[in-house]
Symmetry: C2
Subunit: 346 residues, 2 copies
DNA sequence: GTGAAAGCGCTAACAA
DNA sequence: TTGTTAGCGCTTTCAC
C-alpha cells in the first residue's frame, strides 16, 4: 500500500471533524479560514466549533502551506545570537515579524561561509517567503548573483551598493558628522574610528573626510576574530585624542586607559546608556531599523516588484548631557545592560 | 479551477526533472533520498544529477515533510534570547540539534503565558517532531495535563516532579553542598541563596538543610520582574556572610557592597570566569546539559516510548584557585564576557 | 449554503 | 532496475 503509516501524526484531520459534524470537508476549511464569501449558517459554525474542541483538532500548517503556496515564514540568517546585540536583534525581528502575521525562522552561521550557504539553501527549500540576511562571511560575486536571481525576496541589513538586493541600513553619516564636529570643538586633532568587518562605517566615514580639519583614521575590528588586546595595543600605540567605537562590545571601558591617556570617546549605540565617561553617543534607532526592515520585506512578499528597495535610517549624535533624556524617549528597555558581567572589580 | 496559481513557488519540481531526464518521478525521489533498495544505474544517476543542476532544482521540504509525516524540526520554547545566557542557550541547542540532522525552530515567550501557549500551539500545528520547553510563565495543572497527553515529545529543561514529562536538568545539590561546606569552613554562619522563579534551587537547597550548622536562607529573584535594587536592599538589610547567586546576571559586583560589609560570594555559573573577588563557583556543565537534552529528545522522537526520561546532570563546586584551570578544560569559550558593558566606571 | 473534485510536491509500496 | 499509483491534509473553484 501507499499509506506512510495510516496516521503519520496520529492526529485528527479536517476530515474527521467534517464527518463528526456531519458536514463536508470544505466547510471545515472555510470555517477555519473565515472566508467571507461563503457565510455558513450559525448552527453549522457552532457544530463545527464544538467538534473541533472535543476532538482537539489542529489544522496542519504544513499542508496549508503546501496547498496555499505560502509558508507565512520569514527566515533570519545571521552570524550569532549569543551576544547581546545579536540576541536583541533576533528577538526584535521576531517581534516585528510576528506582529505582521509571519513566523520567524532563525539560522545561525557562526560567521562560517559553508554554514551560511547551507542555511540559505535550507530556507529556500523550506519555501520560506522571504529572508533577512545579515552578511556574516565574505562571499564571491557569483554567489550574490545567484541570490539576486532568486524568486524569494532577500533583504540585506547593510547597504552593499554592488549587491543588487533590497536593503535597510543605517546612514551613519549624520551621526558621525556631528560627533566629529563635537570632538573637534573639544580640541581633538586625531580621531580613530573602529569599524566592523562587514559594515560600511569605513566607506561612510571616508565620504566625510573632506569636511574636517582633524585627522581621521579607521581600524577594522571584528568580534568573531579580533581581541580586545589587539585593539588596546593599537590605541595605546596611536593615542588618538578622540575615538568612535561600537558600543556594547566592551571596548568603551575608560578604566582600561592609563591615567596619562584619557581620550574622548563617542559610542555607536543602538541602546545608549548614561555613561558619564563618554562624550556622547551616535544613536542608531534600533526599533525603527528593524521595523522598516520587516515592512520592506513583507511588502516585497505581498506585492512583489522588480524594483529594489534601499532604505537608509538616519543616525544622530547625542552629547552626553542629553543621553538620559534620549533614553527616556525610547520605546525599548535596555534589556541587556542588566545582565552585564563586571570583571570582578578591575 | 483548482490550481492555487499554476506554479505557486514558480519553481522547478521533481516532475520537471524527471521529464527532462527522461525518467519517472519516483526515480528522482529515490535518487534524492539515496534509497538503497533500488540501485539506479550509473547513467541514470548522472543524467538526473545533471538535470537537477541545470534546472536548479530544490526539493520542497514542505511536501517531503507532509508526505513523510516528519518535519525533522525541533522546537525550542523559551522566555527570551536577548540576554547572554538565553542567547548562548539557544545557540548551543541549535548546534546540537543540527548535529543530529534536525532543524531548530525557536519561539520566544517573553515570560508571557498567552504567548507561551500560542507558540506551543503553533509548533504543534507545524507538526514539529519534538519540543524543548523552558518553562517561562506560571501555568495551571490542566495545561500540563494536556501537554502530557500530546503525541509530540516534550522535554523540560528543569525537573518538575509534578509534571509527567521528560526532563534534563542540573542536580544542584553536589555543587551547593560543597559550596556551603566551603563557606562554613571559612567561618560563615548565615548563607543566603538567590533562586530564580522557575528553577528548583530552593527545593534542592531545602533538602540539604539538615546537613549544615549554618543558617540557610533563600530569596526568589527573577530577571523578568525583580530589580537589582530589590536584591541589594534585601542583602544589605540581612547582611548574610555568605551568598550563593546566579552568575552572569550582574548581581555579583562586589563593588556594590559597602566597605564594612564584604560577604563571601559563590556563583552558580555555566561559563565560569576568573573573578578574584569570588570565593568560587558552582559549575553547571553547560554543553553536557544541552547535549543530553537533545539526545533524550531525539531518542523519544526516533524510538517513541511511554517511559518518561528524567536526567540530572551533576554540578560541582570549584574554589576560586581552581577556576582558571577549569576554564581551560572547557570546550566552549566564554563568548559573552567579551561583550559585557561596564556601567561607566561606577 | 453546501459539496465534489482537482490538485500543492513528494514518497514508497508494489507491480512489471 | 524502472514505472505506476495512491495518497499526506488542506484549499478553493465551481456547480448544485
Amino acid at each position: 500500500m501507499t499509506k506512510p503509516s495510516s496516521k503519520p501524526f496520529g492526529r485528527v484531520t479536517a476530515k474527521d471533524v467534517a464527518e463528526r459534524a456531519g458536514v463536508s470537508r470544505s466547510l471545515v476549511s472555510m470555517y477555519l479560514s473565515g472566508n467571507k464569501n461563503a457565510w455558513l449558517s450559525e448552527s453549522t459554525k457552532q457544530r463545527i466549533d464544538e467538534v473541533i474542541k472535543t476532538l482537539h483538532y489542529r489544522p496542519n500548517t504544513l499542508a496549508q502551506a503546501l496547498r496555499r503556496g505560502k509558508t507565512n515564514t520569514i527566515g533570519l540568517l545571521m552570524g550569532g545570537i549569543a551576544d547581546p546585540v545579536g540576541g536583541m536583534f533576533a528577538e526584535a525581528v521576531m517581534d516585528e515579524v510576528e506582529k505582521r502575521g509571519y513566523r520567524l525562522f532563525i539560522a545561525v552561521t557562526r560567521f562560517d561561509r559553508k554554514r551560511e550557504r547551507d542555511a540559505l539553501a535550507n530556507m529556500l527549500n523550506y519555501q520560506i517567503d522571504g529572508i533577512i540576511y545579515t552578511l556574516s562571511a565574505d562571499s564571491d560575486d557569483d554567489f550574490f548573483r545567484s541570490l539576486e536571481n532568486s524568486s524569494c525576496p532577500i533583504l540585506l541589513t547593510e547597504n552593499h551598493p554592488e549587491i543588487n538586493l533590497d536593503s535597510v541600513c543605517f546612514d551613519l553619516r549624520p551621526g558621525m558628522r556631528d560627533a566629529i564636529r563635537h570632538l573637534e570643538a573639544q580640541g581633538c586633532r586625531r580621531v580613530l574610528c573602529l569599524t566592523g568587518y562587514f559594515d560600511r562605517t569605513q566607506e561612510q566615514l571616508a565620504s566625510l573626510a573632506g569636511e574636517f580639519a582633524c585627522k581621521l583614521e579607521t581600524y577594522r575590528w571584528n568580534l568573531a576574530t579580533n581581541t580586545h588586546e589587539e585593539f588596546m595595543e593599537r590605541v595605546l600605540l596611536d593615542r588618538p585624542d578622540g575615538i568612535l567605537v561600537q558600543g556594547n562590545q566592551g571596548l568603551d571601558k575608560t578604566a582600561w586607559f592609563p591615567p596619562d591617556y584619557q581620550p574622548r570617546i563617542v559610542e555607536f549605540n543602538m541602546l545608549p546608556r548614561p555613561a558619564p565617561a563618554l562624550d556622547g553617543v551616535i544613536h542608531l534607532p534600533f526599533r525603527r531599523w528593524i521595523g522598516k526592515m520587516v515592512d520592506v520585506l513583507v511588502g516585497q512578499i505581498e506585492r512583489p516588484s522588480a524594483r529594489r528597495v534601499r532604505v537608509e535610517i538616519p543616525t544622530e549624535f547625542v552629547p552626553q548631557n542629553r543621553v538620559s533624556e534620549l533614553l527616556r524617549s525610547l520605546p525599548e528597555k535596555n534589556s541587556f545592560s542588566t545582565y552585564a558581567t563586571s570583571n570582578g572589580g578591575r
